[in-house]
Every structure is written in structure tokens, then in C-alpha cells.
Symmetry: C2
Subunit: 735 residues, 2 copies
């Protein structure tokens, strides 16, 4: 793949200013950086781009009848954009057509959202209360007034997170034999200059001229215009103009935003004071490494760079062979201007990232057949252009029809789907959405976001991108260290080599102390660069190189070009990269919403139906009373569960058993053993209750820990247990 798209910010970031680093055209590695990038891989989609509804459910023909004209309008405009691209129309014309397309897509998406059946039971505030109350997570430093965008996980959230990460490690690293690394979060500046973050990882902000309060420029404009649009007496043309701005707000340049703010005379929504012009605000936390104050560093904005800078070691560890995958779990940081949306947009977050390095000319995957038959909801760029809804199809079909670019990408999408649904994501509220670039005119790229539908709309939880060879090339360029792998050729071939022959003495004499740097620079040139130098030396008798920010004039006396042919059996290639990137906090949030339940007829009994694999505790042990005889059995059970590595909670706090079940339900404990007075009879028995069905069986105390272990580890189903042990019937009451 020759085009490369680098979404530096990944799944967890999902942001306006995604750093799109793309190769401008075939055959050149010259990156092209759009001035301002499309936002809203989350926040806007959260509010509007909730297309497609419940992706796995039936389509309602009445709804479709309403949507059809809107779909047609999108399709019509999409075709215009396609045509303009084909005709290589002037950029300005394409840009206008794309803006129109976005307006039409937004109308379709708004309508889709409006027509979706609402979950009447779901109340986000109540769910979040339960999460706080049971200390799954809460605002960090609350006793000090709190800090926006920072959260602490309590015992329940922390255990769930540890379980989720263990499941991730098992599902990806162990099962796929990936190479895990654990790299430094503190990152020196040159690394992030090479990756593009220092220059481009930023949002535009405006400042209150009097009190210094800061706002994200696009959020401010958006809020202002949305408020304006609520005015029913607004003239149609004003309305239309405002709506148009809203639909392209992700793509506005700094200058456009400044001019819009002037036109609408926007002031601080808090103080009413004047605002500054929009300025770019880099979202990395900066710090200084060491005591001198001269070594600038940042907290890493993603974990991926740690893998790239270790590529050589990892390749060597893998005995020089491609393909291989490296993975990293760890925290990243992002200094949001104004964090909101709870756990979804935070300043410090855990990611799990995979970089699968492969031969860019062979993206097949030997295990693709294991996932080829999975039926998965896909929202392709093409269908989005055509105004079509999400399409459920097998990964095999999608790769065959080139909807998904290649097998490896498809394989990871399948593995992601299996992981997410195993951990409690509702498959009917899951989809893969293919990236549509706002700069559709300019490049192709394949990148799919695994999105979960929540009360915030569709949120991106995992990104799965084919990033081509971009990252390794950038670091190679910045360091002069070759980051390539040897590829055995199917048959030997004759290759023309072009090598600069340097007169080191002449260079040294001319450039003195800089001589060595110039020599190293020339030695590291790739074939294209040497050819360019050769042409320049022939035509103009000089060639300028820029080394460490200084320019040096190379003359024919310093360098001559040697050309020769050689038969080679291997060739050096820069590996391509497929990158699945997981936002752990976002996945947790989606799972919370998808597993939040309320007992029928009892408003007070809210709980989380988490699957055992990620439930904080697997089991509770509840003595019916504080009697000492029961204690012995409780201790015996607790010890046996510990020996089986089954995390559990003994709740001997008193209170009715119903009340205690409600409490253990609220922290998502799937199984509960109750030691009652019948337990005292020999042979000792106790009851076992399952959270979701609330059904109970009675079994021997010796057997129960193993039964729970089998249930918790998925070796046995609850149905199977139910049919093998006597049912224990007793009314459950929360009073």
C-alpha cells in the first residue's frame, strides 16, 4: 500500500486535530499535513452521527420510508464528489462539494437518531450514581476540589480493569504470541518531533481577554450557533448559514474560525468578556527531564511510539523474521482544553496498542480463515457516501470484495469483535465504521473504528488502521538508523545500486567540525535522494543539504556517484504496520452502559450484568447470620476459593439476605454462595445463586468452589449446573 494515513491520536483520542500524516502521492514519502483535521471520531458523532441504529436488528420499513429521501440526497451528492475527484476538478470545487455532502449526511444522521427507539429505562445519571456509590470510579482529588478529566478507579473499577487487561493480554499477546513491551511514558522531544506530534497535535483555543479562561474554539462556535438556531424567529437565510457552518465545523481553519467569531460577535459564554483570536494549543503535557532545564520532554500521547523506537530490538528478538506483532499496555496523556463526557474524554488514560509489522506487499494472514465466517456490522466509507445503512456481512466477503483492504486488517477486526463481545459489549450495539476522510479528494487509506453505541451516541473504542510504512520511515529519517527488515526474494534479481563515493578529506576541510555530520547524512541517503543529488551535481555543480538545521553546499569535488548492478537474493524493506489500538476506559464505559440493568418492578435494584471474565469479584459468600458455626464454613469456602484463584467477597455485614444480594448485584458479582442454617447439617451444603437469573441451587460445600471456578472460567454453563443440582426455591426480597 502506497498511501499512508497516520492517525496519531488513536481510538482513545478521537479528536478534531487527529494528525493526519499522509503520503501525498504514489511513490513519494513526502507527508502532507492538512492544516486542520476532521474531528469527531467521537464527540460529534456522539451527538449526531448515530446512524444505523441497532445494527443487528431488523429494519423498520416505516422508518426506512422516511429516511429514503435523505439517503438519496446523500447518494446524489456523494456521486458528485466522486465525479469531481475522477475528473481531477479544482480543489476548491471538491471542497465545496464535500461541505455540501457533510450537510446532507448530517441531516440523514440526525433523522436516524430521532427515529431510533429509545431505551426508556436507561438513565445515565442514575447509572453514574451507582458507579460512584460502589466506587467503580470517581473524580480524582475530589477532596481538593477535583481536576477535570482525571479519574480514580476504586476497588471495583480497578479489579474490572485488571481483569479486562488480563483478558486482553491472553486474547492478543498470549494467543497470538505477540512481543509485549513496557516503555517509558516520559518521552524526549525529538521522538515526538519525528512522529509529528510536536507540530500538529493541537486544538484551537480562545482565551477570555480579561480573566484568562480558555475555551475550545470549535466547541464555542458550535454552542453559540446551536443556541442561535433555537430562536424560532430567525430568518431562513441566517438559519441556513449557521447550519452550514455547523456541518463543516470539524474542518474549519484557524482563520475561518476567527472570522466566524467576528461575524457573530462571539463573547465568553461565562463572563461575556471579549475573546482572543483562536490559537493552536498543543495537547501534550510538557516537562523538563533532568536538572538543566534544557532537555524538553513530554508525557507520551500514545503508546505506539515506544514500539516503533524499539523496532530494531524487536525484529532481532524475532530472529529477523516478518511478520510479527508487538503490543503495549500503558497510560497516555492528553491535556484537553475542556474535558467533558466523563470517562470518555479524559486527560490520562490506559491504552492497549498492537503494531503488527508485515511485508507491505503481502498482507495475507495465515489465521484469517479462523475469523472469515464471522458476521459483523460494517459501515463502509462507500456506504456512508451512498447514504446506506450499516451492512452485516462476513469478514471473508468483506475482504474478498475489497471493502476491507487486506486479510491482516480483517483478521484483527475479527479478533477485536470476539474480544469486545466476550468482555460484555452488546453485539447489537457494536459496529465497525470505516474512516471517510474529509479530504477524500486526496488519498486512500484503510482504517476502521470499532464503535459502541452508548447514551453519548456511537463512541470509538478501538481503532484498527493500516498505517503503511510511515512511522518507521519517520524515525529512520530523524535518527539515521536503518529501520528495515530483510526479505527473501522468491528468485534472485538484478538491481541497480547507486552509491555516493565521498572524498572525506575534502568534506572535512570544507565543513570542519560539521564534516562528520555531513558525511553521516550523505551516507544515510536513500536511492531517490542520491539520484537527486547526482542530477544537481551534474546540472548545477552543487547540491545543498540541510543537516541539523544548517545548510551545507556539496560540490562535485566532494562526492561522485558510483553505479553498479548486483544480483541479490534478499532485499531490505521497510515493514508496513497494521495497528489495532484500544481505549481501555472507553471500552469499560461502553460495557457499563451495555450491562446496566434494573430488576423488573424494583426501581431500587440496579446492577451490572458483567460477564464473569471481567466481573470485579467472581463470587460472594454470605453467612445468613453472625453465628460462629457458620463462620467455620465461610472460612472453609473462602480458603478453597482463594486456592482456586477465585476472587470473592465475604459479606457478613448482616442485613437481610435480599438486601445483601442487591448489594452484591450492584457490584456485578455473578455468583453468590449463601451459608444458611441448613448448612450446619452433615454433609454441609450451601446455596449457589446466579446474578442474572436469580435462580439458586443447593450443593455440598466441598463441591461449590470448583463449580464456581468452572462457571467463572467458562468451563461450565449455568444451565448445566441448574440441571445437575436441586433447585433451591425461596422468594428473594430486598426489604
Amino acid at each position: 500500500m502506497q498511501f499512508g494515513l497516520r492517525l496519531v491520536t488513536q481510538a482513545v483520542l478521537c479528536k478534531t486535530q487527529r494528525v493526519l500524516l499522509s503520503a501525498r502521492s504514489l511513490g513519494t514519502s513526502n507527508p502532507r499535513f492538512p492544516k486542520h483535521q476532521p474531528e469527531n471520531w467521537f464527540s460529534k458523532r456522539g451527538k449526531r452521527l448515530t446512524s444505523a441504529g441497532n445494527t443487528m436488528t431488523e429494519v423498520d420499513p416505516k422508518v426506512e420510508a422516511i429516511l429514503q429521501p435523505l439517503r438519496d440526497a446523500v447518494k446524489q451528492q456523494g456521486d458528485i464528489v466522486r465525479k469531481l475527484k475522477e475528473e481531477k476538478a479544482p480543489e476548491i470545487d471538491i471542497k465545496r462539494a464535500v461541505a455540501d455532502l457533510k450537510t446532507k449526511k448530517k441531516a440523514l444522521e440526525d433523522k436516524e437518531l430521532e427515529l431510533e427507539p429509545k431505551d426508556a429505562q436507561f438513565d445515565r445519571v442514575k447509572m453514574e450514581d451507582l458507579l460512584k456509590q460502589r466506587f467503580f470510579y470517581d473524580q480524582a482529588f475530589a477532596i481538593y476540589g477535583g481536576v477535570n478529566g482525571l479519574y480514580d478507579f476504586g476497588p471495583m473499577g480497578c479489579a474490572m480493569k485488571a481483569n479486562l487487561l488480563n483478558a486482553w493480554r491472553k486474547h492478543f499477546i498470549l494467543e497470538e504470541q505477540m512481543l509485549e513491551v513496557d516503555c517509558s511514558m516520559l518521552t524526549p522531544e525529538p521522538v515526538l518531533i519525528a512522529s509529528g506530534h510536536v507540530e500538529r497535535f493541537s486544538d484551537y483555543m480562545v482565551k477570555d481577554m480579561k480573566n484568562g479562561q480558555c475555551f475550545r474554539a470549535d466547541h464555542l462556535i458550535e454552542a453559540h450557533l446551536e443556541k442561535l438556531l433555537t430562536d424560532k424567529k430567525l430568518a431562513d437565510d441566517v438559519k441556513e448559514k449557521a447550519a452550514k457552518i455547523l456541518s463543516v465545523i470539524d474542518g474549519l481553519t484557524k482563520e475561518e474560525m476567527g472570522s466566524i467569531m467576528k461575524t457573530y460577535n462571539m463573547k465568553s459564554p461565562v463572563s461575556g468578556n471579549d475573546l482572543s483570536e483562536p490559537v493552536a494549543f498543543n495537547l501534550m503535557f510538557s516537562t523538563s527531564i533532568g536538572p538543566t532545564g534544557t532537555v524538553k520532554g513530554y508525557l507520551r500521547p500514545e503508546t505506539a511510539q515506544g514500539i516503533f523506537v524499539n523496532f530494531k530490538r524487536l525484529l532481532e528478538f524475532n530472529q529477523g523474521k516478518l511478520p510479527f506483532a508487538a503490543a503495549q499496555i500503558g497510560n497516555s496523556f492528553r491535556n484537553e482544553i475542556s474535558p467533558r463526557s466523563g470517562l470518555i474524554r479524559v486527560r490520562e488514560f490506559t491504552m492497549a496498542e498492537i503494531e503488527h509489522f508485515l511485508d507491505p506487499e503481502d498482507k495475507s494472514h495465515p489465521r484469517f480463515k479462523d475469523v472469515a465466517d464471522l458476521r459483523i456490522p460494517l459501515h463502509s466509507a462507500c456506504n456512508q457516501l451512498d447514504g446506506k445503512p450499516v451492512q452485516v456481512m462476513t469478514l471473508g466477503e468483506a475482504v474478498e470484495q475489497k471493502i476491507i483492504n487486506n486479510q491482516t486488517l480483517g483478521y484483527f477486526m475479527g479478533r477485536i469483535y470476539l474480544f469486545m463481545t466476550k468482555c460484555g459489549v452488546d453485539p447489537t450495539r457494536f459496529r465497525f465504521r470505516q474512516h471517510m476522510s474529509n479530504e477524500m479528494a486526496h488519498y486512500a487509506c484503510d482504517c476502521w473504528d470499532a464503535e459502541c453505541k452508548t447514551s453519548y451516541g456511537w463512541i470509538e473504542c478501538v481503532g484498527c488502521a493500516d498505517r503503511s510504512c510511515y512511522d518507521l520511515k519517520q524515525h529512520q529519517k530523524a535518527t539515521g538508523v536503518t529501520l528495515s527488515a530483510s526479505k527473501q526474494l522468491p528468485e534472485p534479481k538484478t538491481v541497480e545500486f547507486v552509491e555516493p563515493q565521498m572524498q572525506k578529506g575534502v568534506i572535512g576541510k570544507a565543513f570542519k567540525k560539521d564534516g562528520k555530520a555531513v558525511i553521516d547524512f550523505i551516507a544515510a541517503m536513500d536511492k531517490e535522494e542520491v539520484e537527486a543529488m547526482d542530477r544537481a551535481l551534474n546540472d548545477r555543480k552543487e547540491f545543498a543539504v540541510n543537516v541539523n538545521g544548517q545548510e551545507f553546499k556539496i560540490t562535485p569535488e566532494m562526492v561522485s556517484i558510483k553505479r553498479y548492478e548486483k544480483t541479490v537474493h534478499v532485499e531490505d524493506i521497510t515493514p508496513g504496520v497494521i495497528e489495532p489500538s484500544f481505549g481501555i476506559g472507553r471500552i469499560m464505559y461502553a460495557i457499563f452502559e451495555h450491562s446496566y440493568r434494573q430488576r423488573e418492578g424494583d426501581e431500587q435494584r440496579r446492577y451490572f450484568s458483567l460477564p464473569p471474565v471481567i466481573a470485579p469479584y467472581k463470587c460472594s459468600v454470605l453467612p445468613l447470620s453472625g453465628k460462629a458455626e457458620l463462620d467455620t464454613i465461610v472460612s472453609q469456602l473462602s480458603k478453597a476459593l482463594t486456592n482456586l484463584d477465585i476472587s470473592h467477597k465475604v459479606d457478613d455485614s448482616g442485613g437481610s439476605i435480599g438486601r445483601r444480594y442487591a448489594r452484591t448485584d450492584a457490584i456485578a458479582i455473578p455468583f453468590g454462595i449463601t451459608v444458611d442454617f441448613d448448612s450446619l447439617k452433615e454433609p454441609h451444603t450451601a446455596t449457589l445463586r446466579e446474578r442474572d437469573t436469580m435462580k439458586q441451587i443447593r450443593a455440598s460445600v466441598d463441591e461449590l468452589p470448583q463449580i464456581v471456578s468452572d462457571l467463572a472460567n467458562g468451563r461450565r454453563s449455568w444451565e448445566d449446573v441448574l440441571s445437575n443440582y436441586p433447585l433451591f426455591e425461596q422468594q428473594e426480597s430486598s426489604k
Copy 2:
């Protein structure tokens, strides 16, 4: 316990400027901060304080005869210090006597080290080469030239670290039902002002006046004087003076260091340029949270504060009951002036910390009996004062004899010992050393460091401290939020209450907009403070309070004091804290050294004898050749091992089987299954080899995965396997 010592920096930090926050005297919570604190819980001990040698081995009477006079000298001086303390002698006299004591202790420790039998085989450089070569860990950002004090863990180090942390989580959090939290690393300044870090978490540094290079002042002085002492022609009085400075270098003030540098005319050891005066350099990485630049934050220097600020939520989660323990695993950061000693002194590191909250008047532990009979090498403060060697005794005896302050502290020391030895720390190179304060004159405290002996000397890997109620009180004071627990009294008691009665109108009128803050401040006063105010209002008719940096004069018109008695059944107490704090990187390093081996007679075959519980992979699968028939069996084995959660590595890279064994040994894989040509016969069998003994058995391919699983999880011993399966005899060669 009324005295409190807060070692903010903990195990992993072990530093000069440990922030000693201590209560000055009984009954007051007024902290006393020594200007400069003793260093060298690690770095100096690393080089010199290697007392006691192999703690579990026999004492050599010849060695003891040489040491005896030195021991006597320490004891004599120790007694002098004790006597001066008893007599409450002037501080200056005690300080001098302590300095003399340290000189004598150093002489003893130097001699002990000199007389220790050396491990002739051990070569740190070769071990570190192996660690790099197999990518356990290596310098971070090496292709960019690297950054001192930052390391990346490769696949092997990362898997080992994950296994170590899982073992930790199981041993501590699961088995003890602790409440785990996962808190923000970014920390706003007020939190770290309250904890004392902003003011005191610093080292002294000097700067090259011309090129700005920085040095740690104490390191510089030390290096200068040590170089001086190598001069054989040096006059005795000069020698003695230099040695004396070296022995007290940990306790030097900024002024003393400045004056020493002048006396010896010290220059930059690199450039020879003049140096600045010593200045305090705060070791926290600072950054700015949010876009305004006004919210200052730091990267946390320890994980403990995250637990303290969540105390209320955790207590509530535990249904208001004491005792309970909270734990956190995560990264902390420390901006070392000049990191050295590899993995031991780094700028970013993983810690695992426990805060066990308890009733300060009841530090018994119900499970103490489980560890009471463990025989553990203890180096008590008293024995250190007496010049005695490490003493092996049971924890039961140590607590009974009050050598260890209380059962809970002793319980954790036992659990730490079990954890460390389980994970591969050599028990003969392990000891607990009790903290001796350099300010012995001023306070008592109980704190023990779990130390491992390495080629750097004894290094502190775990701290286990009784920190009294200091931390919660500090945060309570800073926030006004009550951080206490209710304690049921054994019988009701009558308590005198003293309450300020405020005339809020008068206060509001006097202080206007600050009135509310003053009212809140007075309402949050504790009993002692109210009493002090009462006295002042009676005696001087006014009392000054300092609120938010401003002084306000309180008059009798504003506040009167109400006194009354009440019978109470519960009382509010600020819980005490026992804190075990683990430096994960240091523990890993100690394990590397303790498990590093070389095959007899084969210099090239070096390996790590890691216990299966933390070995990166549990098993290798080695097909003898690339034949397709063998592949089927290899796949079958790999699948079965994955199903049993056994991490493993298939090495089908070719090369002799001996060479491949050597390679798997080097990455510490404890078990290896070899599929050979006999494996093709029905029923299929393969060989199983154990790393340390190099013995092999032959068993059926169906059985082998379960055998490995049992071995890896400690359910079965290798001896047991050896005696149940036919031995497979074959020469192992690395050629």
C-alpha cells in the same frame, strides 16, 4: 504510637532527601522537618554498608576475630550516644557523637565487605549484556541517543514484570482482600504541598558556571574526597578530615556543602570550570494541567497519596470498618539529577504500595500467627548501634521482644519475606534492616527495609513502615475534610467537648468576603487548637488565625467557647497507617542477580534460573526438524498449552537442539518439550526437559501440557515427575 516518621520516598526512592516528617514530641502533631536528611538507604549502603554478609550462612570465627575490635568501637560510641540522649544533652553534643558513631560504623561495614567471600563467577557486565541481548530491558530511546534513567522493558522483561505483578496481586490483594485503587499520576500541586513534597522532596545540586552541566552536590563532594584519599602521600590529618566528611555526607546542610566545596576548591570534574553554590532541586517532574497555565501539577513521586486522598471513599466501601488495607500498583516519577546504577535508580518506575489503615491503639493482627514462626534475618537499629551482625529470629520473638513494634508490622514483614522468596529472591541474600535515624536524638519510629544483596551491595527493595496518623492528618488539615473513622468503645465513656460558638454576623461584618473562610477555618479546628484559642482570647483578648495566607484577628465578640460533657459510645479516630511499599524494578534487578547462572565448564551458557511463577514463558516447544509431520504435533501441543493458559514459545528456528536449549535457558524458560522423530510413532510421545537440572523425561503428547501446567503452577514438583516417567538420556551439547 505517638511518634511518626514519614518516609515519603519509599523503597524505590531511597534517597538523600527522604522527607522525614515527624511529630516533634508526644501529644502534638506539629511536624518537624530536619533541614537536610540522611541519604543512602541505598546508594551509600550499596557501596559501603554491606554489613553482615550472607545472612543465613555460618559465621567464620576468623573473620569475626578481625571484626570484633571494630564492633566494640561501634558499641562504645553507640553507648555514648544513648547516654547523651538519656541525659538530654545539648543537641550539638549529640550531633557530634552521632557523627563519630557513623565514622565507626562505616569502618566496620567496610571491613565486613572486604572480608566477604566474593562470588568469583559473577560478572555484572556479562549479566547485563545477556539482559540486553535477550531484551529483558534496555535503555529507552536508544536510537535517539537515549535518556539517562529511562528504560524500556522488552518482551522478556515485560512478561516477567506482568507475572511478578500478578503474583503480587494474588499474594497481597486477593489473599488479604485488599481494596485496590488505580489513581491519577498527574497530581495537582495542593496535594503535594500537603504531603510535604513540594517543599522538601529535593536534592542539592551545583551547576557548571560556564556550560550549565549539573551535578548532585553530595556525589560531587564524595567523588572529590574519595579521589583525594587515593593519594598515598596525603598527610594523616588531611586524610582523617576527608574521611570524617565522607562518613557524614548524608547529613550535610546546604551551607556545609558549600563551605566544603570552597575549602577543597572543587571544580567541575568534567570541564574544570567553576561551580555554583549548592541549590535545592525539587525532584518532581512539573507540568501544567489544562490550557490556562495556572494549574500547576506534578507527576506523582509515589502512589501512596492517591490512596490517602481516597480514604473516605475506601472507608465507606469497607462499610466504615477498620482495619482495612488499600493497595495500588502503578508508575511514579522522580527527576534524578544524575541517574546511575542501571535499573536501581531511575526516573520512571513501577511501585506497588499498600496502606493498611488501623486503630492506632490496636495494632494486633488476627493472622499474625500464620507468620510468627518464620525465621527471618533482622538487622535491628539496636544491633546496628551495638556493632552486632544480622540476627536470625522468628517474627514471633521479634514482636514479643518489641524489636518489631507491633503485630501488623510483623505480619507484613512475614508476608513480604514469603513473597520475595517465592519470586526468586535468594533467602541467603535477604534481610530486614531497621531504620536508624540520624536524628536519633529526636524521635522513635518503626520502619524496616527489606534489602537484597547484589553486586551494588545491599539495596532496599521494599520499605515497611509504621507511619502513624501523619498523612491523613495532613490532608485533613489542607482540605478541611474530616478523614477519620468511628471506633466503637469497649464501654461508654464521658468526654469533655470544647466547641467554638461563633457570632457569624460579627465575623462576616469584620472580614467581609473572607468571613466564610474564617468561619470554616474555626469550625475545622481540633480540640487543642480550640483550647489554644480559648486561652488567647482570655489572656490577650485576641487570637490570630492564618487563612489562605492572610491573617485575621479573632476577638471575644466573635467567638465564645462552649464546654460540655457527654457520654459517648463511639469515638472518632484518625487511623494509623502501616505501609509496605515495593519497588518493582529493584526487586526484578535483585532477582536477576540472584538467579543468574553459568553452566559448569561452559562460559557461553549463561542463563537465568527464574522460578516458573515469574518466568516470561513457562515452556518451550522445540521440533527437532522442520518436517511437516512434526509440525502437526507442535501445533497440537501449542494449542493445548494455550488452553491451559501456559505461556510458551515455539522455537522452530533450526540449529542444534543444544543451541536451542541454551537459547531458551537464557530467557529463563523452565520447561522445554522437544518433538523428535520418535514422536511420530503411535502413541505420540515427546521429551520434557527441566532447565536447572537439565534432566529429561519422556511422556505422551496428550499428557505433557497438563504436566507442564502442574509444574508451572507449583502443584507438582520436578522430582515427582522424574520419579513417575522414564528418564530420557541424551548428551546435551551447545555446539
